[in-house]
């Protein structure tokens, strides 16, 4: 059913449709409306789950860690300082190989206090073994959340669904909300590699041998590689059922492109408009939207190593360059624009100008779009 939803409410509906059993979260703008909506649906009896109000994000993730260990499909959501506050638990969850889903509404890290979008917070998860996706709009937020449970549970890796603060989280737009039956068809019951149970006596997580532990990490690395296939496969299957196909990346006019812009997140929509404008002028430019940051779509990017690449970053790694600039630059040569940090608006007009300068060869290695 087509309706109007904010990105946050789209996530909330996806959580409900995914038959999540335990939700725990701590308020932080602009994440809060996700869990407020869930609390409301539970209170109204529309959703059959427990909502646990906690005293911090560290505990929010701990609660769902516990419930997920016990075999219950679980969900949390946070943003910025909240993510940093639960950071220890994020690593614990992934190193436990526990499937779990968390929405991360990307927001600037302070000081100064600032509630607007910036991808730096989400990027702090990139080493930890979480699968990381970014939604471009409310529809993707909903669709990715539903897929996330399936992907997470089939790989035993936690999944973070990113959405830009306000730009996606609070923008109300048209979303096609699938019905419960179809989602049930797509998303089977929760599965996981192990489950804590009073009747099966074992311990989870006690001290282990160094080499064995390193082997465990290597397996995680391999499963992350495997995730690439799983993501594309689940995205294809989703497409068959719901008519919207997903995968590691979205390729927009890249096949014949001489110039390719790589980016992620909500502003990709504006960038596509800018691509259209330049295309109309005969400039062969395309957009490669990274829908997933982890696993990193290295192989896809490699395919374009004969093109001119520009990476537009909404996060910066202090003392080096843009975060995606580093990542993509590891695969292909690229220019790097750092833009839109700390919630600075960047619209299609900006992209038009930026891409023009890129095509004219006017961009340096790392440019701050200020």
């Amino acid at each position: 059913m087509k309706t109007i939803l904010t990105g946050n409410h789209a996530v909330a509906y996806a959580v409900k449709l995914s038959r999540v059993k335990v939700v725990s979260a701590y308020p932080i703008t602009p994440q809060t409306t996700i869990v407020e909506k869930i609390a409301e649906m539970i209170a109204k009896g529309e959703m059959d789950a427990e909502f646990v109000n906690v005293e911090s994000e560290h505990s929010a993730l701990s609660v769902v860690y516990g419930s997920a260990l016990a075999g219950l499909r679980s969900f949390t959501a946070t943003s910025s300082h909240g993510l940093l506050y639960m950071y220890e638990m994020c690593w614990w969850v992934s190193n436990s190989r526990l499937p779990l889903v968390m929405a991360v509404v990307t927001r600037t890290i302070g000081p100064p206090w600032n509630i607007h979008t910036d991808h730096t917070d989400l990027m702090t998860l990139r080493d930890s073994g979480w699968i990381i996706a970014m939604a471009e709009n409310a529809q993707e937020a909903l669709d990715l959340t539903i897929q996330s449970f399936k992907i997470s549970e089939s790989l035993n890796l936690p999944f973070a669904v990113g959405l830009d603060a306000f730009v996606v989280s609070h923008t109300a737009e048209v979303v096609d909300v699938p019905d419960q039956e179809t989602v049930d068809e797509f998303l089977p019951e929760r599965k996981q590699a192990y489950r804590v149970d009073p009747n099966d006596v074992f311990a989870v997580g006690n001290i282990a041998d160094n080499l064995e532990t390193m082997r465990m990490r290597r397996e995680m690395a391999l499963d992350m590689e495997k995730a690439k296939g799983v993501i594309d496969e689940v995205g294809r299957e989703f497409g068959e059922i719901f008519g919207r196909r997903y995968g590691l990346v979205e390729e927009y006019m890249v096949d014949d492109a001489e110039y390719i812009v790589v980016m992620t997140g909500a502003w990709s929509g504006d960038a596509k408009e800018a691509v259209d404008i330049l295309r109309k002028r005969g400039i062969q430019i395309g957009l490669l939207k990274l829908r997933y940051i982890r696993p990193f779509p290295r192989e896809v990017i490699e395919r374009f190593d004969d093109r001119k690449i520009l990476v537009v970053d909404r996060s910066f790694s202090m003392g080096h360059r843009g975060t995606l600039g580093i990542e993509v630059g590891n695969v292909v040569d690229c220019k790097n624009v750092v833009a839109g940090l700390c919630g600075v608006d960047v619209g299609f007009e900006d992209f038009k100008e930026m891409f023009e300068r890129f095509v004219r060869g006017e961009l340096g290695e790392v440019e701050w779009w200020i």
């Binding site: 059993k21 335990v22 725990s24 427990e50 646990v52 109000n53 906690v54 005293e55 911090s56 560290h58 505990s59 929010a60 701990s62 609660v63 769902v64 860690y65 516990g66 419930s67 997920a68 260990l69 016990a70 075999g71 219950l72 679980s74 220890e88 638990m89 614990w92 804590v196 149970d197 009073p198 009747n199 099966d200 006596v201 074992f202 311990a203 989870v204 997580g205 006690n206 001290i207 282990a208 041998d209 064995e212």
Partner: protein
């Protein structure tokens, strides 16, 4: 008392370890899951692929235990947190939040009055004037009274206990496990290397704490009462001299007579308060 015995021999605890004694009490629980944050018990619990506690154990980050237990309690009835005093420091928000939420879990804080696993650093519950590696001149602050603080959280069950009085402790664990909601037991756990006494004295030191009145056994389950041996030591004349308890411990070396008097006064204050609570919070 049947201690079916969930703690298996040949585990990595030090000689005379109080946690090891205390953990045996979990034998009386039905189908429990035990959540253990970082601390000596992490070690005692054993090394992969083996574990020395014959129960399902979930090891968790230092500050997270009651919250993880809360999550588990959404599926299971008998979730127990076994944590140290240090975990209670860093995880006090977590503990307090869980208590306020009245999660259906039992939390046992096995209090050896310092961070032992990292090598004897002071904690909130370290005794006044006790020497640790981070208070080489003796701790300047008073011992945090966890149980009273938790009592003020208005949860269904709060108790203190001691590894010196296992029958009392076991009774409390059993009772708590039958109550729905948040249960808290503060277990006094003298640690030989940490407090610097001989490994054979763990139980004796624990008992001296009670006999001298320095550690008071009590229980709240709607009503408040002094329990077990401590009932006897309400009468000050029946107590052993406080110095007996203090002097056996190397960590109190250099304590002056005045220090001892100060401690005595503080103990008197606590007794006074507990007496009053016993008379006030009384359903019967």
């Amino acid at each position: 008392m049947d201690l079916r015995c969930v703690l298996l021999p040949g585990n990595p605890s030090c000689q005379g370890c109080p946690h090891a004694i205390g953990l045996k009490a979990l034998s009386v629980l039905e189908n429990p899951i035990v959540v253990v944050p970082a601390g000596c018990t992490t070690i005692i619990a054993g090394f992969n692929p083996k574990q020395s506690i014959d129960l399902p154990v979930v090891h968790v980050p230092f500050a997270s235990a009651p919250a993880v237990a809360c999550g588990l309690s959404k599926a299971y009835d008998n979730v127990v947190v076994w944590m140290g005093d240090g975990a209670t420091d860093i995880g006090f928000s977590t503990l307090s939040g869980s208590a306020i939420r009245n999660d259906n879990i039992l939390v046992v804080v096995s209090d050896n009055e310092a961070y032992m696993n990292t090598g004897i650093q002071m904690s909130g519950t370290t005794f006044w004037k006790a020497k640790t590696t981070t208070t080489p001149a003796g701790k300047r602050e008073e011992k945090k009274d966890l149980a009273l603080i938790m009592l003020m959280h208005r949860i269904p069950y709060v108790a203190t206990a001691s590894v010196g009085y296992m029958r009392d402790f076991v009774r409390k664990v059993k009772k708590a496990s039958k109550i729905k909601g948040f249960k808290f037991i503060h277990l006094h756990s003298p640690c030989p290397p940490g407090w610097r006494f001989d490994s054979s004295k763990t139980v004796e030191v624990a008992r001296m704490a009670v006999k001298s009145g320095a550690w008071i056994l009590w229980e709240y389950d709607g009503s408040f009462r002094i329990t077990g041996m401590s009932r006897m030591f309400r009468d000050k004349s029946k107590r052993i001299p406080l110095t007996e308890y203090l002097r056996v411990q190397g960590r109190f070396k250099g304590l002056t007579e005045e220090d001892v008097r100060t401690i005595e006064e503080r103990i008197d204050e606590v007794w006074k308060l507990l007496d009053v609570l016993e008379n006030t919070i009384n359903k019967a």
